[in-house]
């Protein structure tokens, strides 16, 4: 009843192609932003900031990165975490070795370094695809982490291989409380998500999807497969790189290359499978799911199911993830974002099902 587009006529093509063409949707979105930027900072506990919200936002950013490459451009990658590592360690070295470099510029340079490495490891995509490309990106995953561990220069010859991220100082302000870090991460993630959405709904995004859906037809209408694919690798790795830098600077603080292991790459892949391939919203939904599920399961086990044998309760998490991934791969390849959309369609017709 309340969610209707009746009476809202679009008089320009611009209005028709807006991100939220329906008024109720725009309203919901702005409400959500106010909650994220005002209500949450005023009310949330430090635990909520540091253990849930900050990692959620950072992983959502990485998931957007992977979604650009896999969801939009159709190139499967198992190396997202390695590109995050490049972003983190490059940012660290820029701050360390370039005197007076502003931190945000260092993050940008970290992202660009990741983009360059991404292009390099994206080159095989011009020849191979699918499973074989996945294996090539897997090689990137191991090779990059190995390099960062073995070559002392990257970690400034720290004996343990662990680096301590420099203080988060931007324009003279030190972001040292969980709340301040949350607001910083939220701002960066919100702006980059918007930029990703803008690319996705423009000629850039259409070219990626064309290459994904039917590469011969894409070529025949004038799309250069090489530049489209490599651009997807570059932009995707840039997003992962910035996410990796935030992961080190705003979440972990001290970090070793192993923190960006294959396990993390898989978690990001699960986020876009569960959240929805080829949607920005899905990246957030998937990240929320992957971050929250273990916590909720833990609470569930402690309150309701203490009698469960420990062999079951300790394996509940992989079982639930496994089940969900199989479900989404088989039944709903567009993930939670699609379910959300179906829900909206239902609401639009409610209470007159038809």
């Amino acid at each position: 009843m309340f969610y209707r587009e009746a009476g809202q006529y679009k008089t320009t093509y611009e209005a028709d192609s807006a991100i939220f063409p329906i008024r109720q949707e725009r309203f919901a979105f702005w409400t959500f932003l106010v909650i994220a930027f005002v209500v949450v900072p005023l009310t949330a506990s430090p635990y909520l900031f540091s253990a849930i919200l900050i990692p959620f936002l950072i992983l959502a950013l990485a998931a957007i990165g992977l979604n650009i490459l896999t969801g939009y451009a159709g190139q499967l990658s198992l190396g997202s975490a390695a590109f995050m590592a490049v972003g983190a360690f490059a940012s660290y070295n820029f701050v360390l070795r370039v005197p007076g470099i502003p931190l945000l510029v260092a993050f940008g340079c970290g992202g660009l370094s990741a983009a360059a490495v991404g292009i390099l490891f994206g080159l095989p995509s011009l020849r191979i695809r699918g499973f074989y490309l996945a294996v090539a990106t897997l090689a990137a995953q191991f090779f990059i982490v190995w390099c960062l561990t073995k070559i002392g220069w990257f970690t400034n010859y720290s004996a343990s291989g662990v680096i301590t991220a420099q203080a988060l100082v931007i324009l003279g302000y030190t972001f040292d409380t969980p709340r301040a870090k949350y607001l910083l991460v939220l701002t960066i993630v919100a702006l980059m998500a918007l930029a990703a959405k803008n690319m996705a709904r423009s000629n850039t995004g259409r070219k990626w999807m064309a290459v994904r859906d039917m590469d011969v037809a894409a070529e025949v209408i004038g799309i250069r497969l090489m530049s489209s694919k490599l651009l997807a690798f570059a932009v995707s790795s840039f997003y992962c790189g910035v996410a990796g830098a935030l992961y080190a600077y705003a979440y972990l603080g001290t970090v070793e290359p192993e923190a960006y292991n294959l396990d993390l790459s898989f978690r990001i892949l699960f986020m876009i499978i569960i959240g929805g391939m080829g949607t920005i919203l899905g990246s957030f939904l998937g990240a929320a799911f992957i971050v929250l599920t273990p916590i909720l399961l833990n609470i569930f086990v402690h309150t309701f199911a203490q009698s469960l044998p420990s062999s079951v309760s300790s394996n509940l998490e992989p079982m639930v993830f496994g089940g969900m991934i199989i479900y989404f791969l088989v039944v709903e390849p567009h993930g939670l974002a699609r379910l959300w959309q179906i829900g909206k369609e239902k609401l639009r017709l409610w209470p007159f099902p038809h």
Binding site: N198, S202, N203, T204, M209, V216, I221, G222, L231
Partner: protein, 264 residues
């Protein structure tokens, strides 16, 4: 139906000379030569496996012939590259629909205009004024094509869920979106019912008549071919066995033996 081309047929714009193409042992095309004139509707006919689709694939660079030359608007080439062909104004549809399945009808057609859009991905990311204006200008052109092909009602629909006949029409729309000067249509009416066929015939004639687009058309329905085409090439087992206006072709003994005889 009347014979096509409200515009007078002009000079030769495309010449294929001694084209040979083989896949391993299979000779798909053997020493084929023919030409296409500006504004005409040129049909390619022949039995299954005659090499018709291969011919179109050679014209826009999807296949590289082992021998022969392709001359398009004065430029002589050993083979075309798909993006060169597109940049020079050649568009096409495929025998097996090749739409972008995960995109809406509108986005499919907009993608057809990608070469007309010059703004960079950074301008897209920032939703820069110029990028925005370009998007809207191109949307206007796309809406004209949507009106022309009468597919307004499915504008926002995902293409994958549309019935076959409409998918064929959307594919034509995507090709037209590029505003091609040469349009290659691979069996645009195959698998359609009578009504859909009539619509498609009308669209092909209108494209040719209103926009002056030169059309190379593969079609199995002889009635349609004889009605709408200006000249016909006949292929059989990769060889050219006939070439001329419909009446000539219809009365040629070789053609009747190889093709019409077999089909009727």
């Amino acid at each position: 139906m009347t014979t096509a081309a409200a515009r007078p047929i002009g000079d030769v714009i495309l010449t294929l000379e001694h084209i040979s193409l083989a896949f391993g042992g299979v000779k798909a095309l053997a020493d084929i030569s023919f030409d296409v004139r500006e504004h005409e509707i040129r049909a390619i006919i022949g039995p299954n496996g005659a090499g018709k689709s291969s011919m179109l694939n050679v014209i826009n660079g999807v296949y590289r012939p082992q021998e022969g030359t392709i001359t398009f608007r004065g430029e002589v080439r050993r083979n075309m590259e798909p993006h060169h062909a597109a940049a020079q104004g050649i568009a096409r549809t495929f025998q097996n629909i090749a739409l972008f399945k995960g995109m809406s009808v509108l986005d499919n057609i907009m993608t057809g205009r990608n070469l007309r859009m010059r703004t960079s991905f950074i301008e897209h990311a920032l939703h820069w004024g110029r990028a925005n204006r370009e998007e809207i200008e191109n949307r206007h052109r796309v809406e004209e094509i949507i009106d022309f092909l009468e597919i307004q009602h499915i504008r926002k629909a995902p293409v994958g869920k549309l019935p076959y006949g409409l998918q064929k029409r959307v594919e034509l729309a995507r090709a037209l979106a590029a505003e091609p000067s040469l349009l290659l249509l691979d069996e645009p009416m195959a698998g359609m019912n009578v009504e859909e066929k009539q619509d498609m015939c009308r669209f092909v004639l209108d494209v040719n008549g209103q926009y002056g687009t030169t059309i190379v058309l593969i079609e199995h329905d002889m009635g349609v071919v004889m009605d709408i085409s200006d000249r016909v090439v006949v292929l059989d087992y990769g060889r050219k066995i006939g070439d001329g206006v419909p009446d000539e072709v219809r009365s040629s003994k070789a053609v009747i033996d190889a093709y019409l005889g077999a089909a009727h």
